[in-house]
């Protein structure tokens, strides 16, 4: 059975791109969220196997959303999406329990490798 993924990013373009990559590689994108608040709600509703979480977003940023999600499900698998230069945020996310992080610009192969490893 294909794995169910929630994509969180404030940019539509990024969500499209990621969705495209994921669907081509046999993942099922069950929901998308454009900010942290929405991400937490969608997570509760869908209980996806995996979340890709952008770090900088309006309303609630990715790290806070990650923490909220971790409260809902302790072993939730969240992969952070970050741009270069956000090292401190990434580290904070790792501290908070993110399983991995991927760095923009995305390359299909790497994204898939990371998600596959995260889900094992």
């Amino acid at each position: 059975m294909s794995k169910r993924v929630l994509i969180v990013d404030d940019a539509i373009f990024m969500r499209m791109k990621l969705k495209d990559i994921l669907e081509k590689n046999g993942f099922e994108v069950v929901a998308e969220a454009q900010n942290g608040q929405e991400a937490v709600e969608k997570y509760k509703a869908e209980k996806p196997d995996l979340v890709t979480m952008d770090i900088t977003m309006p309303e609630m940023d990715g790290v806070s959303a990650l923490k909220e999600i971790k409260k809902i499900k302790e072993d939730a698998k969240v992969v952070m999406c970050s741009a270069m230069g956000q090292q401190a945020m990434v580290m904070e996310a790792i501290q908070a329990g993110a399983v991995d992080f991927i760095v923009k610009p995305f390359e299909s192969e790497r994204v898939i490798q990371s998600l596959n490893k995260a889900i094992r």
């Binding site: 970050s82 270069m84 991927i102 490893k117």
Partner: protein, 696 residues
């Protein structure tokens, strides 16, 4: 080159530091050739030096450090023990490097020939290479770090935990070439590992790792209850890792025990030093705080050392240009002037609302003043640290077995005093090694241990710092000194043995019959004495035949604050540094005698030239009381004629700047509590000027 010019200062500062580290470590390695962590440090320092030199474009220096590094590399894998020949060779390289650095400092680039050294280094390289090739045929290289490179503390941890069912792994991780945010990736890896164990060491250091300052691979030591397989599994789940190699570390039991004993010895040492520091404490409150500061400083430096050995570079200090500190000091003093003025005004207005904040300002400014004085302090270690190397070289040169014992190296002194101290101390230590300590045969014949001891001790006593240079050698014989003095035509009538020994400070006095390479050129002790005096200090000597000789140097804590005698001449008040004053006497007019062109005063049956300070400074004196301040310069006395004595006071010296700095009559100025500015007389200059006048 232009581009690098702004880094020059930093380059020299750091280079000096690295050379010092190299010297120290090399000495340590000589004592303990198996100490691989010291060798590592040497290697690292050499490597850094090479990098720095290359960046600055200093080719000779780069070449030499490169060769040196290659040679050190040979011994780094722990297979070949470093020999004393190699150590001597590296010492030679260090000396040459210092020469090169001095050369560059003086902007003469690359004029020093290093061919002989590179030749020697090449020979070693060639020899070793063929050796190792023969020995290591077919042996493949293992992981990047081997157990021999694990430092002592880590070894201890590994051993302690091994007993409790923990395993230690040496893990080398290589990241994918395309990996971005390497720091975060490394952090992720460490984080993951720490969930099931503990990472006790990383190479590069953890901060470097987190900042992503590494090529694609790094290594670490990991302690966990998990098995190799489990560790592997944990890491496999992380993306962007190219390869991982995991090695189980098993340390030799016996080695471990040794380590623990070593560590214990170290703590005992530390205790001893703190006891020393305590012994020096005096009852005044100021000193108590000083002591505490000293102790914490001790701890801190110990901690620093630990940190260093763990490869973490936590910077707790910053470098400051000394001129900025002087500036800071000046500004603070100026603040004090205006504070005083404000206080005067407030006193007139008598406004309570104003008085309270003013009191605060007063307190803060004096705290500031204390602080800046403290900032200028430097541990004597800065000069002491070059002596172990010197003693090593001297003992080889003189074929004596000499051990240098240093105590209280953390004692602090004003920076200017510390930096001026090197020269006289070198002289004293050389003398101790050359004339003091006997040859091995002589020592054995006297029933003394073969190894002679030269001891360097520093401690604080009140607002002075005492430095003692002592040896357990033959001591100074009053008879020989008497003989020598007579031969040199020095009048020794009425001198007892103690006073005879003091003659060594006399100009042109040296008891050695032949001039050796090391010391004894006839100039010397008098120069040492002058130097110490010019720093506001004193030097004494104590000697006992066949027991040894001690030179006791007493120095003021700082040159910025001095005790002074306030005197008035006419309507003006001046300060005279107390340090140089021998005696103050009240004189009647009749006691000042006229010789044909000068005035003299009879002091201890000797004619002392009298200098009328008011004439020197072209001010009108009062006709009432007169005092003569007797000062001693070298072995001559002079008398400064002043009017009234106003009392003794501690003053902060402010240097005169601009045109005023050319006024040789003054050392500087000071600001009194009431805001009044007082000039400080440079007594020695007043007296020497007089000499010149006489000739002219």
């Amino acid at each position: 080159m232009d581009d690098n010019s702004k880094y020059r200062d930093l380059f020299f500062e750091e280079t000096d530091e690295y050379l010092q580290t190299l010297n120290e470590c090399l000495l340590e390695l000589e004592k303990d050739p198996e100490n691989s962590s010291v060798l590592d440090e040497i290697f690292r320092a050499a490597h850094t030096l090479k990098g720095m030199a290359a960046t600055m474009g200093y080719t000779t220096m780069t070449k030499l450090t490169h060769k040196m590094e290659s040679v050190l590399e040979l011994y780094r894998n722990g297979k070949n023990l470093i020999t004393s020949d190699i150590i001597s060779l590296v010492f030679k390289c260090l000396d040459r490097l210092s020469e090169i650095v001095d050369d560059i400092r003086e902007e003469k680039y690359d004029q020093i020939n290093i061919d002989d050294l590179t030749e020697e280094l090449s020979v070693v390289l060639e020899d070793r290479k063929s050796d190792t090739k023969a020995n290591n045929k077919g042996e493949s290289q293992k992981t990047k770090i081997s157990a021999t490179e694990i430092n002592e503390t880590d070894k201890m941890i590994i051993n302690n935990s091994a007993g409790k069912g923990y395993n230690a792994f040496d893990i080398a991780v290589t990241l994918e070439d395309y990996c971005l945010l390497k720091g975060a990736r490394a952090y992720l890896i460490l984080n993951k590992l720490e969930q099931n164990g503990e990472v006790i060491h990383t190479d590069p250091a953890i901060e470097e790792l987190e900042d992503g300052n590494f090529e694609n691979s790094f290594s670490l030591i990991y302690i966990t209850k998990e098995k190799v397989k489990d560790v592997e599994e944990m890491l496999v789940d992380i993306s962007e890792i190219k390869s991982v190699s995991i090695n189980h570390i098993i340390l030799d039991e016996s080695l471990a025990k040794e380590t623990i004993v070593d560590a214990k010895e170290k703590t005992v040492d530390a205790k001893e030093t703190s006891v020393d520091a305590k012994e020096t404490s005096v009852d005044t409150k100021e000193n108590k705080t000083k002591k505490i500061a000293l102790d914490t400083k001790n701890n801190k430096s110990n901690k620093n050392n630990d940190v260093k050995s763990n490869n973490h570079h936590v910077s707790q200090t910053i470098r400051v240009d000394i001129n900025r500190l002087d500036n800071f000091m000046n500004l603070v003093s100026e603040l004090v002037i205006y504070r005083t003025r404000l206080e005067n005004i407030a006193g007139k207005i008598n406004n309570n609302e104003l008085n309270e904040p003013l009191e605060q300002v007063a307190r803060i400014t004096s705290d500031l003043q204390d602080l800046v004085l403290k900032i200028r302090m430097e541990p004597v270690n800065v000069v002491f640290n070059r002596f172990p190397r010197m003693i090593r070289d001297l003992s080889k040169q003189l074929d004596k077995d000499i051990e240098l014992v240093i105590e209280g190296e953390e004692t602090e002194l004003d920076r200017t005093v510390v930096s001026e101290l090197g020269e006289p101390l070198i002289h004293l230590i050389r003398n101790a090694a050359d004339h003091g300590v006997e040859t091995k045969e002589e020592r054995l014949a006297k029933g003394k241990p073969e190894k002679g001891i030269v001891k360097l001790t520093a401690y604080q006593e009140g607002n002075r710092v005492i430095i003692i240079v002592s040896d357990d050698g033959k001591g100074m014989s009053p008879d020989i000194i008497r003989e020598s003095a007579i031969r040199k035509g020095i009048d020794i009538s009425g001198l007892d043995e103690k006073e005879l020994v003091k003659l060594i400070f006399h100009q042109g006095f040296s008891t050695v019959k032949e001039v050796t390479d090391v010391s004894g050129r006839g100039v010397g002790m008098d120069v040492v004495k002058q130097k110490i005096n010019s720093l506001g200090g004193t030097i004494e000597v104590e000697s006992e035949i066949d027991k040894g000789t001690s030179f006791i140097i007493k120095l003021p804590l700082t040159l910025s604050i001095i005790q002074s005698l306030m005197v008035s001449i006419g309507k003006h008040t001046f300060a005279v540094p107390l340090g140089i004053i021998d005696k103050v006497v009240r004189v009647e007019k009749e006691e000042i005698l006229k010789s044909h062109s000068n005035e003299i005063y009879m002091y201890r049956n000797k004619a002392v030239p009298v200098i009328r300070v008011n004439e020197k400074l072209a001010i009108e004196a009062t006709e009432e009381e007169k005092h003569i301040i007797l000062i001693q310069l070298g072995d001559k006395h002079y008398g400064l004629l002043v009017d009234k004595l106003m009392g003794q006071q501690e003053i902060v010296i402010k240097k005169l700047t601009g045109i005023l700095s050319k006024m040789k009559e003054y050392l500087g100025a000071t600001i009194l509590g009431n805001g009044e500015i007082i000039l400080i007389l440079d007594a020695s200059n007043l007296c020497y000027e007089r000499k010149v006048d006489k000739i002219g």
